[in-house]
Symmetry: C2
């Protein structure tokens, strides 16, 4: 039995996604729950990449009735974004298109400053680049709000202060361990603010938080705080995903700090082909004749898994690839080339949508309006 | 030997001000240091109410050379202000008049929310009233900045985040004990921000923090953080005061939560007279004839001590009162009446200067300007 560690700050070992749910106390999505999402269900749901949840039913029920719903999905801007960072945003965009959901996107520059050996200047350079990638997803500016913790501190800090009062150091450390500094100890209150912002702006309604399963503790802490502090909000729902496979294989999450490189959102076709060809763990046989005879295993083949997780929407095509791979007809190199091209197609389209121009201008339509800000701000000067 | 406790959150027992300096590692002011302040020295210095310090010489030297200096003195708005809260502000005003010092006045509504069983709404009502009392002191709006933590969170939180990274939970708890919530654990970083703000706005220069001695740990934590984090600021200096005597006597600090009532800044002459007559601990004899014969003890007489600490500026008059009291010529009731009238004179003048009108308007000339705010703010949106 492999052991594994999953916290918001470390994912190690081979992750057993079902044991993780037991540990975290979340539930695997049922077929009925997946069918409650707008149909046809997004491939991330169909293929159970988003595989578990907490209070998802209230969100889907409200969305079905065309009631107000929102989605919160954020980004910790501590480096360039790679493939594993972007799929929650495309999923949020699908929900926005299908349900009219408000999408709130917090960038936790404060958290990354507290947790990493980086200066604010460095983090803010990443923040600017990450914001261009997030905007490339194509959110509706009328329905989307981007929050940068330090730039929107006028609303974030007073609300975080409210929630911080409900979180004892002991409860915080039970979830996160002892933080390296008092900033990271305070941060869960900032995260709670992120998750409750849509309700604080638009009134109580179901909020869905689609996140990789390692971020679930944040949601649990927030749900506890929300229940204690505010009687005018409902607990945010969590939709939990598996980790996009690492190029080098294994169960942990894709990360730019792994040995095998991650595929960056800025990579060009040639780079993607090289990275996949060189680093993607193969489920094929090492000998060509043997592969032709016995076939490969798509279940452990990272090129196939990347297609399965996100980059091939066509279920029939995916099935064909798996069949041909298992039969030995499709070679590992061919499968890699196919996957690299689908990924590169995706990235080229994404890159073409990345906005240029001064970052303040391109983000402006997505920032909290003055009226929204007033609604959220404290009361001394009215 | 009496034992006593002094932390930023508790002052108990008979305070031994010299032992306290040993504990805190600060130095009693020398006559030469007092002579370095603008002359004639303020009675709070002459009479050693401000009795100790840390790095005071750099402040007085710069002030003497007409260089930039600043004073930071704040207020935790958890209730109405009483006499014990106001003397540091009048002292700051004296320094501003005499040296041209910038005066920065942070109102820590966040801290009080974290530390007290009060809502933000309650705290913000106190904040508004406290602000009127602070403005009644008569600061120069060109040289004075008022910061309300949650209202100025756009600058306070990003800076506090910077400093928070340098403060481990262990170091924080060594000074403050385990906080009741993660907000109060984060607060020392906010306090560090307060104390460094003048230098962050105006460039490096000596800053003096005149505070009651129980607040010294805040300054020490801030000095440590400043040294670690910023090489473009100098450590703030502390000027430490004794506690204004409680009406009921004893060595602790005057507080509205004591059994004997504090004198509020809003009290009228009749109320002051009643409180002093009824509650001020007397150094006189219980029997009139005995008093006439043996006299009273001004050292323990709270009416006399209030005059000595702040309310009688005239040294000769104060001496005359002490002499007459010791000789028995001046009765306890007469001394009380004299003290109550001096206090009421002070309060009536103070109250007459309290600004009326919408709080946002009256505070506006004292808030950070847009240019100052830009200088302090983080860098994502420029």
């Amino acid at each position: 039995m492999h052991d594994f560690t999953v916290t918001p700050y470390a994912v190690e070992g081979d992750v057993d996604y079902d044991r993780l749910l037991e540990r975290f106390g979340a539930d695997r999505l049922t077929d009925a729950q997946i069918a409650d999402f707008p149909q046809p269900a997004h491939r991330l749901l169909r293929r159970e990449v988003f595989y578990a949840g907490r209070d998802v039913d209230r969100f889907t029920a409200a969305a079905t009735r065309d009631e107000t719903v929102s989605v919160v999905t954020g980004r910790g801007p501590s480096g360039p974004m790679h493939l594993g960072h972007v799929y929650p945003f495309y999923f949020a965009k699908y929900l926005q298109e299908q349900t009219g959901a408000h999408v709130y996107i917090p960038l936790s520059d404060d958290e990354k400053y507290f947790a990493k050996d980086l200066t604010f200047d460095e983090i803010h350079e990443y923040t600017k680049e990450n914001l261009r990638d997030i905007l490339a997803v194509g959110f509706d500016p009328e329905k989307t709000r981007i929050i940068v913790d330090t730039e929107d501190a006028d609303v974030v800090y007073p609300l975080a202060a409210e929630f911080a009062k409900e979180l004892t150091p002991a409860a915080m450390e039970a979830t996160y361990g002892t933080p390296p500094n008092v900033g990271l100890g305070f941060y869960p209150a900032v995260q709670a603010t992120h998750l409750l912002l849509p309700q604080l702006v638009h009134g109580p309604h179901p909020t869905l938080v689609p996140i990789a399963v390692d971020q679930d503790p944040h949601v649990r802490v927030c749900r506890d705080i929300a229940a204690k502090q505010r009687h005018d909000v409902t607990k945010p729902a969590a939709l939990l995903s598996k980790f996009l496979p690492r190029l080098g294989g294994g169960g942990g999450k894709m990360s730019t700090s792994d040995e095998a490189p991650g595929i960056l959102l800025s990579d060009d076709r040639e780079t993607v082909r090289e990275k996949v060809a060189k680093h993607a763990y193969s489920g094929g046989r090492s000998d060509l004749d043997e592969h032709r005879e016995h076939g490969g295993d798509p279940e452990v083949d990272v090129a196939y898994q990347l297609l399965f997780y996100f980059f091939e929407d066509d279920d029939a095509e995916l099935e064909r690839l798996a069949d041909e791979y298992r039969s030995g007809e499709l070679l590992s190199g061919e499968l890699k080339e196919y996957a690299a091209d689908r990924i590169a197609d995706f990235l080229e389209a994404h890159q073409a949508r990345r906005p240029e121009g001064p970052i303040a201008e391109v983000v402006d339509p997505y920032r909290l309006t003055d009226a929204e800000r007033e609604r959220l701000r404290p009361g001394v000067f009215g």
